[in-house]
Amino acid sequence: MSLRRLVSLVEIVALVAALTFVLLLFVNEPDDGGGSARSTGAEIYSSNCATCHGATGKGSVGPRLADVVVGRYPDVADEIAVVTVGRLGMPAFSGRLSAEEIRQVVEYTRTDLGG
């Protein structure tokens, strides 16, 4: 196969791959659905925390929350304070989330994520 034909073939593959990924953006939703079925705390967590702490709270760039966060912060006010003003590499969320939203996402980490 000549290089020119290979390039043409790869370009077709690239076009198909691009169209597939665009299609998947709209049709591929997780089984648990999102939208109205999800609690506000879960939505806030997904939008603001999952990047670093992982979708299920098992940690990624940021530390693990699932199963450990209640042990680390027995007083819920301490965890709320960390989310509000930030700590080490974690940014402050006081300007991004309301006090009520911070409370909801903290509750979510302590209950649904298995605190």
Binding site: L3, R4, L6, V7, V10, E11, V13, A14, A17, A18, F21, L24, L25, N28, E29, P30, G34, G35, R38, E43, Y45, S46, S47, N48, A50, T51, C52, G54, A55, S60, V61, G62, P63, G89, P91, R96
Partner: protein, 190 residues
């Protein structure tokens, strides 16, 4: 200035505007999707890497290396580099191939960013990464159109190509380089 030259300039303006508008539309559409779609937070693939994050870091790095190669090949094609003294006949095809493969490598990375993470503004790095990621694909579409379309001013392709490369460099710096240098202890490199 002669009349044909003025005519050429007049006919180039709508084409140039079309290229710009298509590129801008793609960037804005991606930004709107990233901002409005509820992030799934899922990690759908890792191949032979330890996780999706590591896959994205290395795919981005590979795309960056290929983009550097593509720029060098373009510089030789347009005579900005003099080595090798005689340009091989396959130079143009190699230029196209390296760019196309870099684009393909970027797709699973962008898909995860858009679908799983969405637009984020937690830190300056993340804001810059989100915005430049959208600009990259708009610039890429503008570049492909510039290559295919005739009658555009001679500066169009280098400017749009430069924007594609610059945005990819910014993406690389705010993701892979950050991961290589600042990742928290315990996260695997691969």
């Amino acid at each position: 200035m002669t009349a044909p030259a003025i005519e050429r300039r007049d006919s180039a303006v709508p084409r140039l505007l079309g290229v710009f508008l298509w590129g801008a539309a793609v960037s804005v559409a991606l930004g709107v999707y990233a901002g409005s779609h509820t992030p799934t937070g899922e990690k759908p693939y890792s191949l032979f890497f330890s996780g999706t994050l590591q896959l994205k870091v290395w795919f981005t790095t590979a795309a960056f290396v290929l983009a550097c190669l593509q720029v060098l090949l373009a510089m030789r094609l347009y005579g900005k580099l003099r080595r090798p003294a005689t340009a091989p006949s396959w130079l143009g095809d190699a230029h196209r191939l390296s760019g196309t493969v870099a684009f393909v490598l970027s797709l699973p990375v962008a898909y995860h960013c858009l679908w799983s993470l969405g637009y984020q503004s937690t830190t300056t790095r993340v804001v810059v990464h989100s915005i430049v990621g959208c600009i990259f694909y708009g610039a890429f579409v503008a570049k492909v159109l510039s290559v295919r379309m005739e009658g555009l001013p001679g500066w169009t392709l280098p400017v749009v190509g430069g924007l594609v490369f610059a945005s990819l460099v910014a993406i690389f710096l705010t993701s892979s380089v950050w991961y290589f240098t600042d990742r928290p202890a315990g996260l695997p490199l691969f």
